[in-house]
């Protein structure tokens, strides 16, 4: 059981997550509501907590179902938020959902010692302990989501990059959030909230800082994300750090580097 053997599944999952999350991240950034994914992730985590409270194994299939129901409900709610005028009110609602969902999870999980451990796992994730079977199932699920997105990619693009005040078909909006929620559910279940949020936002944002256009940003986001994941896993091994947190910290560092490079490039002109 060498270090490479131990880290291989974690890296494979990280790549899968980055490829999918950067795509959705660009959409989320374009819409200008960043915290929706944090809130969605937290409601999915709340779903897992409720499942655990009702006696289900937090790493079993029933748990995933609970998480998905939570994410769908939140997704439906956020889709309806489009009707609320002004981004401030929307941000407030999303922030409240996040905080209250977190508090409810803590309340539920503080009932038992194992619950507290699982609470830690919901935030830090168990990137390190993912199995090849879970990676296979995740790849299949993400492929299905990718297919769905690919079939309607032009309309989804218009949805996100278009006017934020217009209210295009609610069905399209819901379709977008449905696939988003499905993806988030699986990634929170496997990798935890911190990693999911970081993968969603940081590589996409870093790419947006240095490039324009959806496709270039997508590619750059993948490169930055995978580089960050590699560096994070290496740091976790060398410095004995928790894997999820190390990856998130390294991605943050890369963002600073990219931002600094951009600032320097601007000042040279």
């Amino acid at each position: 059981m060498t270090a490479i053997e131990i880290l291989a599944p974690a890296f494979a999952l990280a790549v899968l997550l980055i490829v999918s999350h950067v795509y959705f991240g660009l959409h989320v950034l374009a819409r200008g509501i960043i915290f929706v994914d944090l809130a969605l992730a937290q409601v999915a985590a709340l779903g897992i907590s409720v499942g655990f409270w009702l006696g289900y194994d937090p790493h079993g299939d029933a748990s995933l179902a609970f998480a998905f129901v939570g994410a769908i409900l939140a997704g439906a709610g956020f889709a309806l938020l489009r009707a609320v005028p002004g981004t401030t009110a929307r941000e407030v609602i999303i922030g409240c959902v996040y905080v209250v969902a977190t508090a409810l999870s803590i309340m539920i999980l503080s009932q038992s010692g194992q619950g507290m451990e699982e609470l830690k796992a919901l935030f830090n994730g168990s990137l390190l302990f993912v199995s090849w079977r879970e990676i296979g199932l995740t790849a299949a699920a993400y492929a299905a989501i990718a297919l769905f997105q690919a079939l309607g990619w032009r309309r989804f693009r218009a949805l996100s990059l278009g006017s934020s005040e217009a209210s295009p078909g609610l069905a399209l909006e819901f379709g977008f959030f449905l696939s988003f929620a499905a993806m988030i559910t699986i990634s929170v279940y496997l990798a935890g909230i911190l990693v999911v949020f970081a993968f969603l936002i940081i590589p996409a944002f870093a790419a947006s800082v240095i490039l324009a256009g959806f496709a270039p940003r997508l590619i750059a986001g993948w490169v930055i994300g995978i580089a960050g994941a590699l560096a994070g896993l290496a740091a976790a091994y060398v410095f004995d750090l928790p894997v999820g947190a190390a990856v998130v910290a390294l991605l943050g560092f890369l963002l600073v580097v990219v931002g600094g490079w951009r600032a320097m490039a601007r000042s040279r002109r």
Partner: protein, 307 residues
């Protein structure tokens, strides 16, 4: 004139209530314990003369208990508090006690019984500080996993019960005698049950099982936690894999309140079997006596298929 009989009734009623209450208050000794094990032993010895309750549930980790208002209420009403000691409860009990402000159960009073001074404690080797993780500086507090310590605890509890409630001293002696009889019956049974493990090396999740190992003749060669209270890291898993290979380890023993994924991961990579063991009474429904814990541990080991 018509108000006098009504007032008299009021006084008579109050007198009845007060007398009635104080009568029931003296009926049982109100005992609270920090763990479910101690409550079970107290009940076994005290029988109907005591009302014993644990502040923590047998399903959760005693060192990570969350202080709750109900604990303060129960501490306020208690006549006797029995604790494991050795800093096991240091994360939550002191707050509960100071909030309850019950002078009967303060440290040093007859209503406070710390069992760690009666049993034989295993010290952790080397200098102790927070840098070593969540290490307890007064030795390893998980001593109740050696049934011989349970016996010592039972004797100390019986003595204290008799001291606080001399009227029922004979009943406590009888309860203790029954407990000792049960122990003498179970001890050889357990020794037989643990024979497959004798002399073998196992790994545990947390450094909580040295007493169990000492009582039943096996060796713990490593833990999933790199340091007590710290989650497993990559380099530690690597080293642990090596330890497992070198010592021919076939079994991981872990308490039920820890996350399972790291154990599953280890099992998949190294082929060892995982036994989730009860660490105390009431971990599962139907576990009532202290002795059930060890029966439960043996059952989990058998079910794991390691031996």
């Amino acid at each position: 004139m018509t108000t006098i009989p009504r007032r008299a009734l009021l006084w008579i009623g109050a007198a009845i209530l007060l007398l009635g209450n104080s009568a029931t208050a003296r009926a049982e000794l109100n005992v609270i314990t920090s763990t479910a094990d101690l409550a079970a032993i107290t009940r076994a010895i005290g029988g109907r003369a005591v009302k014993a309750d644990s502040l923590t549930s047998g399903a959760s980790a005693p060192h990570f208990a969350v202080p709750k208002p109900s604990m303060i209420r129960r501490a306020r009403d208690a006549d006797l508090l029995i604790v494991v000691g050795a800093e096991l409860e240091i994360g939550w009990l002191p707050v509960v006690l100071s909030s309850a402000a019950n002078p009967r159960i303060n440290v040093g009073q007859p209503g406070y019984l710390d069992l760690s001074s009666s049993v034989s404690i295993l010290q952790e080797a080397g200098p102790v500080s927070r840098a070593q993780g969540d290490v307890h500086k007064s030795g390893n507090p998980h001593y109740m996993l050696d049934p011989q310590n349970g016996l010592v605890a039972a004797r100390a509890i019986a003595a204290r019960l008799a001291e606080l409630d001399p009227a029922n001293a004979a009943a406590y002696q009888a309860g203790l005698a029954a407990f000792e009889g049960e122990f003498r019956r179970k001890w050889p049974e357990w020794q037989r049950g643990f024979t497959p493990l004798r002399g073998k090396s196992v790994v545990s999740y947390h450094r909580s099982l040295p007493y169990l190992a000492r009582a039943f003749g096996f060796v713990i060669v490593g833990e999933l936690e790199p340091l007590p209270g710290i989650s497993p890291t990559v380099s530690h898993l690597e080293a642990l894999g090596e330890t497992i290979r070198r010592n021919n380890v076939r079994l991981l023993l872990m308490e039920g309140f820890y996350e399972r994924r790291s154990a599953q991961f280890l099992a998949e990579r190294t082929g060892i079997k995982v036994a989730v063991i009860p660490h105390a009474v009431e971990f599962e429904a139907g576990m009532k006596s202290y002795f059930d814990t060890f029966d439960g541990i043996l059952k989990s080991i058998r079910v794991s298929g390691a031996y």
